[in-house]
Amino acid sequence: MKVRVKVPKLGLTIEEVTLAAWEAELGATVEAGAVIATVEADKATYEIVAPATGRLIARAAEPGTVLPIGAELAVIDA
């Protein structure tokens, strides 16, 4: 089953984030709850965690990319 990881809603007024770094390799197996990426919004950094255990089969953007809230960030094959 493919689990799509979206940029989470981070409060009332944050509309976009910048992808800071990937914390998991493409194709790697990740545990549910493991940090797979970090994003920055208004100078605060947030960790994006895997919602399910499985293989990271897609990384939708490169670090430095600006992504709107709700955009697809990654896909995990759970």
Binding site: L12, T13, E15, D42, K43
Partner: protein, 326 residues
């Protein structure tokens, strides 16, 4: 020129004015070590210390009253109220104290205080976190009220407001917090209070818009341009004192007036602006003026309802087209 965000313009204005004048202090809920609910005060506590950047308890009546007392006795406080809706909790120190003390005490004291707050809708915050009270405070002699719509206006009006010797309310639009714009360099990028700006010149109709409605009005002007209607967009930037002269001179050119704001229509700023124009220049008007405001109901939470509730570029363009058709 640098390109920064709306909230960063606020932080810069606060930092520059606190560095410039040690009498300037900042008070409010979570303005200190946490850096603010919207990151708007980040770094100030580290730079200026706990004495001058003071976290307050959740007690708007108390700490705004305290800010007034401090302003009477040698400081120039800046007060943050997180949401404009919470101004209802400190009406007394603003309306009965700050606005009147100079007058009542025979000019013995001044209240040099700037209060900023985040208001308006568009972020699904519901009926108690979306309101716009500019008209309430523009009704009170002794207060000044500004409504910045761009980062440059935030920077210039907040800095000028802090240096003003009167109590100034700065009503920011929280929907615009993450918006970006060019701001001038230098420490003296002040904008005079009480001066409107023509944000877009046009010949056929004057659209006066406030706060985040300025952006909606500019988008409406783009839509109208497709219909060969050339709209002028005027942003009062300060609603008390109101720059009637700039609005009137725009209406002299266009002959038509539409006012757009997030506050409610009845007894609102649209009523005041239209009356000010009609009293001075009724013959200028080629059509009855109009207002575009939310309906007379609280701001609903449901995103679908709120998008119907707030004026939009389309609804503004439609109102203007109706005025030109009449």
């Amino acid at each position: 020129m640098a390109r920064i965000k709306y909230y960063q313009a606020l932080t810069r204005a606060l930092r520059e004015e606190m560095a410039r004048d040690e009498r300037v202090i900042l008070m409010g809920e979570d303005v200190g070590a946490s850096g603010g609910i919207f990151a708007q005060t980040r770094g100030l506590y580290q730079q200026f210390g706990a004495d001058r950047v003071r976290d307050t308890p959740i007690a708007e009546n108390g700490f705004v009253s305290a800010a007034v007392g401090a302003a009477m006795t040698g400081l120039r406080p800046v007060v943050e109220i997180g949401f404009e809706d919470f101004l209802t909790c400190c009406m007394d120190p603003l309306v009965n104290q700050a606005a009147k003390l100079r007058y009542m005490l025979g000019g013995q004291v001044g209240v040099p205080l700037l209060l900023y707050t985040f208001g308006g809708g568009g972020v699904n915050a519901g009926p108690q976190h979306s309101q716009s009270f500019a008209a309430w405070f523009a009704h009170v002699p002794g207060l000044k009220v500004v409504t910045p719509a761009t980062p440059a206006d935030v920077l210039g009006l907040v800095k000028a407001g802090i240096r003003d010797d009167n109590p100034v309310l700065c009503l920011l639009s929280k929907k615009l917090i993450g918006s970006s714009g060019e701001v001038p360099d230098g420490e003296d990028a002040l904008l005079p209070l009480g001066t409107a700006e023509v944000k877009r010149p046009g010949r056929d109709v004057t659209i006066v818009a406030l706060g985040q409605m300025v952006g909606a009005a500019l988008q409406a002007a783009t839509l109208l341009a497709e219909q060969r209607i050339d709209a002028e967009v005027v942003d009062p930037r300060t609603v008390s004192p109101l720059d009637v002269a700039t609005i009137l001179s725009s209406v002299e050119r266009t002959g038509r007036l539409c006012v757009v704001h997030e506050g409610h229509g009845p007894c609102g700023l649209g009523a005041e602006i239209i009356t000010s124009v009609v009293e001075r220049g009724l013959p200028l008007l080629k059509a009855p003026p109009c207002r575009v405001t939310p309906p007379f109901a609280p701001s609903p939470f449901a995103p679908g309802l709120e998008s119907l509730y707030l004026p939009t570029p389309a609804s503004i363009a439609e109102a203007v087209q109706g005025m030109l058709a009449s």
